[in-house]
């Protein structure tokens, strides 16, 4: 492998990228847009869920119960009709997530020490929201009215993310997802484009070896991806003021390894297909979808059936995601995350060798 030939080829690739401002603009700007949008859009906490209250009792006690729901921060009153059917209709139309029915005689039963039934209906369509809302709703009901109750006071402390800010949890995960979305897509188009336009024949005719070709292609895209890494990490940590507990240097170094890995995957995809459209579709299926759905980014891996957990383990995003969350949220050092780093390194080596092996100099 001659370094001079490899660098000359990389230089050609750099010139090609720099003369296509659209692609360059997409590569630099879109990850940032994605970061901002997702960090604002994804909030897994449940706050101010719309609630409809049907209060048929209209007593001091029923008003107090209603106030407890609204002051909890989890619910927000949208309507207080007299007719239960109005509330049911609102649930059907998706205008409210929950409905609270306080029947006649609620206060009277409560003061006599009789069981006082109260009905809470939760829209189960969005299961995550529904199970959190029903837990809080029941907790409020159990604790009412309070003076007669045994006060067992849970003092909940949330470690590593005390305000349970979704952003602190989402942003380090986004590093892993965004870097799997963009660099492989760009690289996947890189070789497929040469094939589609026929310029690959010039490579076949040159003395360049497989290794030089693959490494020369990889280098400029790895640099571009590293630039994206810096932009995304900088934007995430500074703009969203996500506190980083571990070492920033460690995050960047592991991130560099990860982007080489993602770019290699793009290259591998590129050697497998012949057209740009096919390259993009395959890239979508092997990089973005698993990175997004099967990495533990939003959907926890441990709830999946065993076969799908194995499937999830076959993609590198989950390992970098663990490392990134470990460093940013828990202040983990190399001692805690070395396993993930080792897996990513091994993965990269295998993918690179596969790509070099798959790339054959021949005219198909």
């Amino acid at each position: 492998m001659k370094l001079r030939r490899m660098f000359a080829f990389s230089r050609k690739e750099v010139l090609e990228i720099s003369r296509d401002p659209f692609t360059l603009w997409v590569a630099i700007f879109m990850p940032l847009v994605m970061l901002f949008l997702f960090a604002y859009a994804i909030s897994l906490d449940v706050e101010n869920a719309p609630l409809v209250v049907v209060d048929q009792d209209k007593s001091a006690a029923s008003r107090e119960l209603q106030a407890r729901f609204l002051n909890s921060g989890y619910f927000m009153l949208t309507d207080a009709p007299q007719d239960a059917r109005v509330a049911e209709h609102a649930l059907m139309r998706g205008e409210t997530r929950a409905a609270l029915f306080i029947p006649n005689g609620f206060a009277r039963r409560l003061s006599r020490g009789e069981p006082a039934p109260v009905q809470l209906i939760v829209d189960g369509t969005y299961a995550t929201t529904a199970s959190i809302l029903s837990a809080y709703g029941r907790a409020i009901l159990y604790a009412f009215p309070g003076e007669l109750r045994l006060p067992i006071q849970p003092e909940v402390r949330v470690w590593y993310n005390p305000q349970l800010r979704s952003r602190d949890f989402i942003v380090p995960g986004l590093f892993a997802v965004i870097l799997m979305a963009f660099p492989p897509l760009l690289t996947a188009l890189a070789v497929a484009r040469e094939k589609e336009l026929g310029t690959i024949a010039q490579i076949y005719a040159s003395p360049m070896t497989k290794g030089e070709f693959i490494a020369g292609k990889l280098l400029p895209y790895a640099v571009l991806a590293f630039l994206e890494l810096l932009i995304v990490v900088g934007g995430g940590l500074l703009w969203f003021s996500v506190p980083i507990r571990g070492s920033l240097l460690l995050l960047i170094v592991v991130g560099l390894l990860y982007v080489v890995c993602t770019v290699s995957i793009g290259l591998l995809v590129s050697t497998l297909v012949r057209t740009q459209l096919a390259a993009m579709l395959v890239a979508l299926i092997v990089t973005l979808m698993p990175a997004f759905l099967f990495s533990g980014f939003v959907y926890p891996i441990f709830t999946m059936p065993a076969a799908f957990q194995t499937y999830a383990s076959a993609f590198p995003t989950r390992y970098f995601l663990e490392a990134s969350r470990g460093i940013v949220l828990r202040g983990a050092g190399l001692k805690e995350i070395w396993v993930y780093v080792a897996i990513i390194a091994a993965y990269t080596t295998v993918v690179f060798l596969l790509a070099a092996w798959r790339f054959r100099k021949r005219i198909a």
Binding site: I42, Y142, P151, V156, W159, R193, Q276, R325, A332
Partner: protein, 366 residues
Amino acid sequence: MWGRIAGLTVKEFRQVLRDPIILFLIVYLYSAELVICTLALGFDVQNLKLGVIDHDRTEASRSVIQALTGGDNFVLAAQLADMRQVEDHLQRGALDAVVEIPPGFARRIAAGRRVDLGVVVDGSNGNIAARARAYVIEILARFAQERTAVQIHTHGVQPVLRVWYNPDLTNTRFMALTMLAEAGLMLGVVLPAAAIVREKQGGTIEQLRVTPVRAHELFLAKITPTIVICSGAVFPVLFILTLLGIPVQGGIGTLLALTVVFLMSAVSIGVFVATITNTLQQAMLVSFFGLFPLLFLSGTIAPIESMPGWLQAASQASPLLHYVDIVSGLFLKGAGIGELWSHAAALIAISAAMFAGGWFLFKRQW
């Protein structure tokens, strides 16, 4: 005019049906992807790993632990001696939450005095942490109420909780419907965009320009195959959904009509993308990056209520949001057009805006 449109449409159908990759993608998205995601991601968060530090070691403290770990929410994963061990377990991810019962717990309960229970939740996975916190608070409140009822012979509020439309609170049904909607959106945007830009990049649009074909006729021919294929795909999907135990409750006619309305809004975005790009690569990149905001603002990944106000307003522009409400209404709630017309109107408004924008820009290129 109708003859021209028919001729062009036949040509477009042939072009789509001749491309094995596209056909494979359509089948893949509507079948394999839908089934994989439904089976893998439909599960609720249960059996969180709970650690317990019991300083009291009495009947009362054991019954609290029993109350916490008796249901589906928590499993008892470790008995710890003190708080110093907690750090290590949470760091390794061996525990999701820890409850510390103070000494004198039983004595204080018997005396009717206030007890503070220490609870630590691992916040590094926000999704799990929010639930762990809610579950602990709920179980302790119920425990306290039941104890009081025994001690001073009084009853309190009897919560009757009903979960409508999805009583077992699984994600399965919602996930399957989401994947149906996402497949329609992706194909609806990408296929017409690729079909139009291919003519631009290949230069064949010059040939069309010298024919009597008008811009809107070309648009109509380009979007028809996508709408026909994707709305036809609803039928095999209905079969798959029935196998997954998700039968349609509303009318199939309503479903089909509203699906066509949804696909119109998706293809209108595809047409718009095609008018602002010149090569296939650009069109793919733009639609790729346009799809994700639409996906995120649909409420399928994170609840809309928790988003900032400006994003909640923006989410109204996502066709996916309206269509997911439509299909969950039809499949889960047994809703009809009477409940769903406002979503249909929003979809029509989106299509009208995108078609008008696309047509205006395309006119200048034509």
